[in-house]
Structure formats: C-alpha cells, structure tokens
Amino acid sequence: MDDVVVRTVGLARRYKMGDTFVDALQGVDLEIARGEFVALVGPSGSGKSTVLNLIGGLDRPTEGEIWIDGKELSADDEKALTRHRRQHVGFVFQGFNLLPRLTAEENVALPLMFGGVPEKERQTRARALLERVGLTERLTHRPTQLSGGEQQRVAIARALVGHPALLLADEPTGNLDTTTGVEIMHLLKELNQEQGLTLLVVTHDPEVAAFADRVVRLRDGQVDA
C-alpha cells in the first residue's frame, strides 16, 4: 500500500457570495504520509478549514482531486462520501459537537451504529477508547456534566472509534483554556506516536502547531512555500 494517506492535486474551492465569487482555495497540493502529524496554519480566511472539510468529505471541491489511501474520492457520489466519512476519517471540532442527550459512551459508539456494528462490540470499543483518553469514570455522564477538556476527549474517542486512516481536527483547543488545550495536544501526540495515527490539525495557535511533525502554511487559499 502507498505510504501516502492523503494527496490533494490542484484542490480549488469557489464559493458564491451573493453576486460575487470568492476563491477560498486555489490549487492546493498537499501530501500527508502515513503516521504523520501535520499542522495546517494560517490567518483567518486563508482556507485552512476548507481544506480539512474537503479532505473529510463534508464539502466538495470545485476543481482538483483528492486521493485517500490511493483511491480518488469522487465528489459526485453521495454514497462514496458517506462511506468515506464513516470509514476513512474521524472529525474533532472546535465546539466538540457531541449530542447532548447521549452519554459519553453513547456518543463515542454513535458512528458504529450507522456502520451496523453489533451493540456489544460498540460498547466494548467505546469503553476501551474512553479508557484510553482517561474517562473511565465518565462513561455515563452527559456532555453537560463534563468539562470542556473532557468533552473534547470524548470527541477524540468518537473520532477514533471507526479505526480511521486519518484524524482531522479543526481548532481542537479553540474552546479550551491553555492548560487543558496542552493536555489535549499531548493526548493527540501520544495517539500519533503510540498507534501511528495520521493527524491533520488546523490551528492558528503556534503552540499547538509546535506539536506537529510538519507545519503547512496557507495564505489566501494557497500553500505558502
């Protein structure tokens, strides 16, 4: 298997804002190797999150190609995009995006439900991951009963439960205080080193970027060489 997990070729995304068009991305070429921890940095509006969303299959490119594990991601095929989100990537958002009425364990197990994994196995995998992120005592707590850092750990566990090839994190420390933010980054770094998890983290915080193996800078929708 190719050792490149993600490859984008001439990735472009144009948004329509009223009568005008805005080019969020203009030909981004990016390669992330297996087990690599890449930080995507740049000022606001540079197109960082757009790259993340395109690679994660939440958005569709106007032009260009995205290759995941040596296969091109077809932007026109809704089923393929769903499968991609379910099997190949895990998302960690700035705002955690947990479902408030589900417990920590249920939130982590949620992606497996759509994959048709049996309940017993879902439970086992969710508990193992919550244990790994240090939340053994918090299995039955709901998001509102958890601190910001704990919520983000639940979100990380949820992102990992489907054994994705790639973890995508969009400002994962953005809603956390500095100490907690550092803890979360340590956790991500550990996962990267222990399990060889491939990570793409979008941030504007140099301290967060410092955890990465490689930093890619974006400016005005292009990779800043």
């Binding site: 969303n53 994660g56 939440l58 958005d59 809704e78 089923k79 769903t82 989100r85 379910r86 099997q87 998302f91 958002f93 995006n97 947990l98 479902l99 009425r101 949620l110 992606p111 439900m113 759509f114 994959g115 048709g116 309940e119 949820r158 489907g162």
Partner: protein
Amino acid sequence: MKLKDLAKTVLSNLGRHKVRTALSAVGVTVGILTIVTMVSLGIGVQREVVQAFQSVGLETIEVRPVTEERTVFNQFADPQRTVIITPELVEELRARDDVVYARPHIVPGRGMRVYLAVGSETMEVRVGEPVWWDWMDDPFAEPPEIVVGEDLAADTQGQIVISSRTLKELGYDEFETLVGQEVALVLVTPRGDRQEFPLRLVGVVDTHTGTNYPGAYLNAADAAALKAWWYNDPDLLENDGYDSLSIKATSLNDAVQIVDLLEARGFRVETLKTTLDIANRALSIVQTMLGSIGGLALFVAAIGIANTMIMSVYERTREIGILKAVGASPGNIHLLFVVEAALIGLLGGIVGVIGGWLLGIGLNAGILAYFDYMDVPMRGTFFFVTGWLVALALGFAMVVGLLAGLYPAARAARLDPLEALRHG
C-alpha cells in the same frame, strides 16, 4: 443501521418533546376515533341484521300470489288473483327433497272482528301467524318465547296459542291450568251474525316488550276457516289460495332452483338473500360516508404532523450535521424522520382505536337505555370493533404519519453537512 437502534433512537427523539409529540398525535387520535366509532357502528348494525336474517335462514323463500292489474272497471273491488297458492302447490313443494318446510299463511280478512272467549271472559283480539313468522318482521326484537305449553304443531287444526299479555288482560294470572282447555274465537259480522270456532289452547307465548304482536296465533287451516266464514266462501282456498307461502330450502343453491321454478309459474318470489344484499349495500354506503368524516380529520392531522416534523428538522439541523459527519447516510437520516412521523401517527392511532372502542361501548349502552326508556323492543351490539378494523385503523394511522413525514424527512436528508454543522 439496525432495526433495534432505529427504534431506540426514534423513541428517544420523540420522548424529548413529549407534549409536542402528544399534541401532534391528537389529530390522528380524533380522526381514528371517528373512523373506528363510525365503521364499528356500520359493522355492528350489519352484523345484527345478518344474524337476525340468518337465524331465520337465508334459504327462506317468500311466495306471494299474483293479482290482476287495477283498471277503471275493478278499482273499487278486491282485485282477483290470477296466480294462486293452492293447497296442491304446498303439497307438491313439501314432497320435494330439497324443501325443509313449506308453510302457508292466511292474512285475516278486511274489517274482520275477532273476539277471544276464555271461560266467561271475552275480548277483541288481533289474530296472527304462528310465532316464528311474526318475529321475522322485526329482526332486532327479542324473539317471543313459549312460556307455558308448546307452540302450534305444524299443519294441525283446532289449536291456538295466546299471548300472556292477552290472558292477563282477560284476568288470568295462572296459565298452567288453562293449557289444554277449550277456548273459542268468535266472529261477529256488522249485521250481528256470529260464529264460534272452538279451539284448544296449547301454549302461552311471551312477546316481551313488543306491543305490536297479535294476541292469538293460529295455523293457516284455522285462519282459512275463519276467513272462509267471514267472506261466506266455503271454497276460499280453492278460489283464492293462501295469502303467502314461506318455504325453507335445504341449501342456498336449492333455494335458487326453487325460486326459478316458482318464477317460471308466474309467482312473485322474494328471498331473504336479496333483501339482505340490498340492506348490506345500503349499510356499506352509510359506512363509507361516515368513514370519510374521519378521513377528513386525518387529513388535517397529517398537516399537523408535517408541521411538527418540519419544525423538528429545523431544530435538529446541527444534530443532523453531526450525524452526517460521523457517517450517517442521507438514507439513515431520511429513515429516522419518516419512522418518527409514522410513530406519531401510530401512537395517535392506538389512542384513537381504544377511544373509539370505549366510545362505542358507551354509545351502545346509551342507545339501549334509550330504547328501554322508549319501550322499543330492540337489543344488540350496534358498535362492533373487529380485529381487521383495529389492524386497518392502526395501519392507516401509521401511513398517514408516514406520508406526512416524507417531505420533512427528505429535507433533513438533503441538508448539507457543513451548513448544518454551522447552524445555531
């Protein structure tokens, strides 16, 4: 996504807004309640009619003689009969293998005044057909029953059955001693001629609440003798025949053959089956009309459910975004919302079916109490909920919910995950 997970998720979603779910379901409840009540009324009445008819037998054939057309020349006279039910015809029919019985009837003559003499007491009575025949005229009434002695033996002469009401009016409370005694029917013409017909009392009949029953019952032969004297026509049966004839065939198929035979000879023939068919058709129309009222309520309910679901999609936009981000397909989202809407319909339907059933029981009790109060001799279950009605009502309620959920579900499934995540 497994069925169990789907059920769990949907129930949890509905449970989040219990009041809203309940209110959306109320519309369906009203619609289903109306339909169940109305249709169960149709079924109940139909069932009562069919039962009443069947207890007499659908193989029963009613034959009438044919009379000549009224013209300018005979308009004031009794019309002459052209095709008559002769005693020979009755015998011929009785000889057939496919005939269970053939019972001729005589209708009392016009203006005929009949007095009943028991011991020294006398009173005017209405003379009627044997008990079983009268009961058929009123299918809802409790059938008259012989309380003392026995019914008239078929084709005998000289027997009489008297109603308990008549005997009480004559001042008799003890019926046992009367049975077997000789009583008499007396005919008196306007000119004062009188003729006594001695008869033996064989039984006393209780006609319950029915007030329109005759006071005395005779076999056709005795009734014919009374009528022959009244019209001063000793050959009445030979000339005019019986007034009608009831035939019971061994089966419905045999009945059809006998009907063909009699019609070929020019008789007017009626069967209970043709009457029942007409009654059934009329009831079906009423049922459809009443059911439509419920249908209209359900249409309004569907709009309510659709509105609830559209609001729900709007409120849960962000949640839908999250679900899509973690791997839910548009199909999964669609299914979640459609099943949710169908379940609202089903919940409303369950309450509606139970409510309709209870309302039917209540109304039935009310109707029977009213009949009692008005002295109407009618009993029965007029609201009848069958298994298929329950199944159909619940299925219908669910389909209404499902249809109402289709558009909101499609909207939810179509949501762009990125925009949904940015929502609220």
